[in-house]
């Protein structure tokens, strides 16, 4: 999509009709919040559990001017530190072999740390981690907050890992720039890797993270510790390829933020409930046909 300002482009969060409906009420639409407060809320408190090691290795300091100012509407927001479950590490389930979460986030070029923030663009958690029996009020709200923070912590670590790998192999930010959308992206050459998350940091159980960086997007699977990594890796490549193809992510005018249905449609078929599938080429084609029939491109 273009550089359209809020309200002037068709792809605002509310389209024109929605705005008309809004304006039709008694109230006059209030002006948007000034940036500093929004920036802080967008950034929020640091995750309680980002690994110090990665933080130490990551280059540069991510800070935005103005981020230290208090938000204008701080009293409306529940900004509570996320507490970890007292039962962390409780033997919950059988030694699992499934995907815990899938996410897509943006990747900034290593040299461009100051431009924007690490954003999770889409995330899907398959089932909930065993919920702590928290007697305090707003337990549900805190669970959700914790889940979001966990995902963001993963995204940030993946971004660091990807940047470090890019730097190490001498690939500059040019590689992350938009290529011509006609060329297929060479996924087998895209930066990729895996790392572990220890129990309690940030998930209750130990997890393995497999990631793939394609241009300015990071695709990530958070796995149970004993999953078949070869299968996870090829599934992640397959998902990335499908998302690029079916959402036409390489065309500058498209945006995955408003196309959750397609992402969900792809996940429901190729990673149902976080189950990795052994799909040979013909099965993939069969599912893709089914997908194209439901969502004509």
């Amino acid at each position: 999509m273009g550089m359209g300002l809020a309200g002037s482009s068709k792809q605002g969060v509310f389209d024109r009709r929605a705005k008309a409906a809004l304006a039709g009420g008694q109230g006059v639409r209030t002006p948007p919040l000034p940036t500093p407060g929004a920036a802080l809320r967008a950034r929020g408190p640091r995750p309680p559990c980002a690994r110090h090691l990665v933080r130490a290795l990551a280059t540069g300091v991510r800070k935005r001017p103005g981020a230290s100012q208090p938000p204008l509407l701080s009293h409306c927001r529940v900004l509570r530190p996320v507490s970890r479950s007292p039962q962390a590490g409780k033997e919950g389930a059988c030694p699992g072999a499934m995907v815990h979460a899938f996410l897509i986030h943006n990747l900034r070029a290593p040299q461009a740390q100051d431009t924007g923030l690490c954003r999770v663009l889409y995330s899907c958690v398959f089932g909930a981690e065993n919920s702590p029996d928290d007697p305090r009020p707003h337990g549900a709200e805190r669970d959700r907050l914790l889940r979001k923070e966990q995902i963001l912590a993963v995204a940030r670590q993946v971004e660091s890992m990807c940047q470090l790998q890019q730097q190490a192999s001498g690939r500059t930010s040019v590689d992350l720039q938009l290529q011509s959308s006609d060329e297929p992206v060479p996924l087998h050459e895209a930066p990729h890797g895996a790392f572990r998350l220890a129990a309690g940091d940030p998930f209750q159980e130990p997890r393995t993270v497999v990631w793939l960086g394609v241009l300015s997007l990071g695709f990530v699977l958070v796995l149970d510790a004993h999953e078949n990594l070869l299968l996870a890796e090829s599934t992640l490549r397959l998902l990335a390829r499908l998302l690029l193809d079916h959402l036409r992510l390489l065309t500058p005018s498209t945006n995955l933020l408003l196309r959750a249905d397609r992402i969900e449609g792809i996940l429901a078929r190729f990673l149902p409930h976080g189950q990795l599938l052994f799909l040979n080429d013909q099965f993939v084609q069969g599912l893709e046909k089914e997908l194209s029939a439901s969502w004509p491109r």
Partner: protein
């Protein structure tokens, strides 16, 4: 792509206020109440999803809206696109306590799967997992041929057994095991029929589909598996895929404890004949209980996959799948053998053949890991030595594939996770540390944490010295690996190194036989028991020191050194400690010159040197000659300040008869003279003002140590007093440059004055500067007449009196 547009969209979504959202919800409600749900509804739901998912804080959705989202999700006529959106919005806002969703009346399995995804995201406060499980099993049990396909339900079962393993009853577990056998072993071997939806020419005439084929195009020779292929697939073939995908988790779920007591009767005929030919024979004819039957069929399936993976796949995707299937097959066989040892005999022959075949296949190197895992788990029971398998894995694989991030990660995790299983093979692991360090040197960011956990097991009294050298040379190893890759014939289209860095001189010089030998030593596969001085190699590889990979590795070394020393101090005896302390002295000035590396490493080495001395105080006397050399060789103080300070401090602390009887007055005098010379050099004679000043910490430590030594050999007191009084007068610097400089000088002067005062009462000085070990005993602090408080009072009175007399 992530563009500025997306960023602004996210901001808008976050900035939407509650009343705006309320109005938007009522719009959504209006749209969902229509009979025909059109693109408007899709569009609105897409936006609603963005609004609720863009923030981590709670978004209040109107009750009617939540209600309608649930109703739409459960409505049988609703298009999939809308159902997916409703489910994702409900999931995104969960856990929520106002759900009325239930899966009890849903017929479509696809829809049930979606509803289940919402319910399972709630974290089970109301027993959602159990109720979903019961509903899913009711459908699975119904077994109507024309009924809803269970294909979409198997992943739900997987998830449920994962979230709450005790949800299912014994008979349900058996029931599903039976059906899994059917799907795994008896799926149709004919291809499915294409579902052409009413094209003009497509009459529903029964065109007989052909048989399924193997991945190389040949007609299938045996039953259908995930590696069988065709144009179209039948429903049971889809179920075959689902069944195999969940097989390992299901086997673990249905019998988590391995061979258990209640089954003893069922298996009585197999007892005592674990490895006999009888049990290894076909059991197909007998009627086995469901769990055993599933194991039997799973075994056959895995064997068939192993056979199918020898075929040459026509498509790239299938060739990748073959590798993943091999890994899974070995993992399943491992589970089977753990649960029922009677499989061991049959599995071993299969896996030995597989291992022999895969050893020579670089494209399938990662499949060696589960095989090695299998031999580690069962080697002992099967009386097969896993040594050869491990040796191959640890000595060959890392040197050839260190540049593959996934292999490096998997191999490191393999070593770390299996530490308790290595047993007497642990020695192989320890000896191959130079090889494992290659993985670390090339992939330090993701692997540092793993190696911190692994190091304690790699280090023992025999390897400690070599490991420490290797750790200090780790960035140099990274550079050497880079050079090695550049020298070897290209393996991939894209270089694995940083192509922007050109090092023609390195490439040229590396052909020199002198360097060849050193490079080979640095790139050795196993511990050699010797150490080489790598100085020339450091100079050769210097052009690579600035490359990002080397710098990243250098940043990881301090953490690894800390882990090393915490491990080594657990078992180090006097002799090893002495070796290590010597090594620290020796290596402190022979490190690969990476920016910041020396300073960071010195910080660790200096504190660790003091810790070693504290553990074995006689080190100072035993290493007197080397310490004197070290102190005497400090020409350029810059860079080594931290190291010098801790060495000098250790001398002052432990060069005393009270720590070691062998300490003599001559020794003290010799150290005194050497340190005096150093102090003179760093304070009085500064050849040029351009050189950085000696840090005040080093100066004060030198002064203190000289005073300590003088208090032990009192003939030296006049000399040190003279020196200290010189220090007390302001340094004759040409221009008092900055305030921090002035503060430093002030600190030095104060310390000089204190020490001088102390020395005026030699017996008190000795008492304060060389306290006996009794000081740590409680008696010393209780007895007011003989003890420390008295001494302290005396000293402070003296010091106060003296400072009062000082001019200015």
């Amino acid at each position: 792509m992530f563009t500025a547009g997306a960023e602004s969209l996210l901001h808008q979504a976050r900035d939407i206020r509650d009343e705006e959202l309320k109005k938007f919800c009522s719009r959504v409600v209006n749209l969902l109440q229509k009979d025909e749900l059109g693109p408007d509804a899709v569009d609105a739901l897409q936006r609603l999803f963005l609004i609720v998912s863009a923030t981590k804080y709670k978004r209040k959705l109107e009750d009617t809206c939540v209600h309608l989202l649930q109703a739409t999700l459960c409505s049988p006529k609703c298009p999939e696109q809308l159902q997916l959106l409703c489910a994702s919005i409900l999931r995104e806002t969960s856990p929520r306590d106002d759900l009325t969703l239930s899966c009890d009346h849903i017929q479509s399995t696809r829809q049930l799967s979606l509803v289940a995804s919402v319910l399972l995201a709630q974290g089970d406060p109301k027993g959602e997992v159990r109720s979903v499980g019961q509903r899913v099993f009711r459908i699975l049990e119904s077994r109507q041929p024309e009924g809803p396909s269970p294909r979409h339900l198997l992943p739900v079962v997987s998830k449920i057994t994962h979230l709450a393993p005790h949800t299912l009853h014994e008979d349900q577990t058996n029931q599903l095991s039976k059906r899994l056998v059917d799907w795994l072993r008896y799926a149709s071997v004919q291809q499915g029929v294409a579902h052409t939806s009413g094209g003009f020419f497509s009459t529903p005439r029964a065109r007989q589909p052909g048989p399924v084929t193997e991945v190389d195009g040949a007609v299938a020779t045996d039953f259908f598996t995930v590696l069988s292929t065709g144009q179209h697939f039948t429903e049971d073939q889809w179920l075959n895929v689902q069944a195999f995908s969940m097989l390992r988790a299901w086997l673990l779920h249905s019998d988590p404890e391995g061979p258990s007591a209640p089954d003893a009767d069922d298996r009585s005929e197999l007892e005592g004949s674990t490895l006999s030919v009888l049990s290894a024979g076909s059991t197909a004819g007998r009627l086995l209980p469901p769990r055993e039957r599933l194991r039997e069929k799973a075994f056959e399936y895995c064997q068939r996959l192993a056979e199918q993976s020898t075929r040459r796949a026509l498509r790239k995707g299938d060739s990748d799948l073959q590798k993943a299937c091999l890994v899974e097959a070995v993992l399943v066989l491992d589970v089977l053998c753990r649960q029922d040892p009677s499989f061991l005999y049959r599995t071993l022959s299969c896996l030995k053949a597989l291992h022999a075949r895969l050893c020579g296949d670089p494209a399938r190197v990662r499949t060696l890991l589960p095989i090695a895992q299998f031999f580690l788990n069962h080697g002992e029971a099967a009386a097969v030595d896993s040594e050869a398998v491990l040796r191959h894995l640890l000595t060959r694989t890392p040197s050839e594939f260190f540049h593959s991030p996934m292999l490096a990660f998997e191999l490191t995790c393999f070593c770390r996770d299996n530490l308790p299983l290595f047993g007497r093979n642990l020695d192989i692991l320890k000896r191959s540390f130079p090889n494992l360090f290659k993985l670390l040197a090339w992939n330090s960011p993701p692997l540092t944490a793993e190696f911190v956990a692994l190091l304690p097991s790699l280090v023992d009294a025999d390897t400690a010295v070599e490991v420490l050298h290797a750790l200090l040379d780790l960035p140099c190893l990274t550079a050497a690996l880079d050079l090695q890759l550049r020298l070897s014939p290209a393996t991939s289209e894209r270089p694995l190194w940083d192509p922007s860095l050109k090092i023609p001189s390195c490439l040229e010089a590396s052909r020199d036989p002198q360097f060849q030998g050193l490079l080979q030593y640095l790139l050795r596969a196993t511990a050699s028991g010797t150490t080489e001085r790598l100085g020339p190699l450091h100079r050769l590889l210097q052009p690579l020191a600035s490359c990002a990979r080397v710098v990243q590795c250098a940043q990881a070394v301090p953490t690894l050194l800390e882990a090393f020393f915490s491990a080594v101090t657990q078992f180090a005896d006097g002799a090893l400690t002495k070796q290590l302390a010597l090594l620290l002295l020796e290596r402190s000035d022979s490190l690969f010159q990476v920016p910041q590396y020396e300073a960071h490493v010195h910080r660790v080495l200096s504190s660790r040197f003091l810790a070693l001395c504290a553990l074995h105080p006689s080190l100072v006397v035993e290493l007197a000659k080397e310490l004197l050399e070290f102190v005497g060789s400090v020409s350029g103080i810059q860079g080594r300040g931290a190291m010098l300070a801790s060495v000098v401090w250790a001398i002052g602390e432990y060069l005393s008869v009270s720590w070691d009887r062998r300490c003599t007055v001559e020794q003290i005098n010799r150290f005194f003279e050497a340190l005096e010379a150093v102090l003179f050099e760093v304070t009085q004679s500064r050849p040029s003002a351009a050189l950085p000043r000696c840090p005040p910490q080093v100066v004060t430590v030198l002064m203190t140590t000289l005073t300590k030594l003088a208090s032990r050999s009192q003939d030296l007191i006049p000399r040190v007093s003279l020196f200290l009084s010189k220090m007390r007068t302001p340094a004759q610097s040409p221009a008092p440059s900055s305030t921090s400089c002035e503060e430093d000088a002030g600190a030095v002067r104060t310390r000089a004055a204190e020490l001088l005062t102390l020395l005026k009462m030699p017996s008190v000085a000795q008492f304060v500067l060389t306290p006996s070990t009794e000081v740590s005993e409680p008696r010393y602090h209780r007895d007011a007449n003989t003890a420390l408080p008295l001494a302290l009072r005396t000293v402070s009175r003296l010091v106060e009196k003296e400072t009062g007399l000082l001019p200015g």
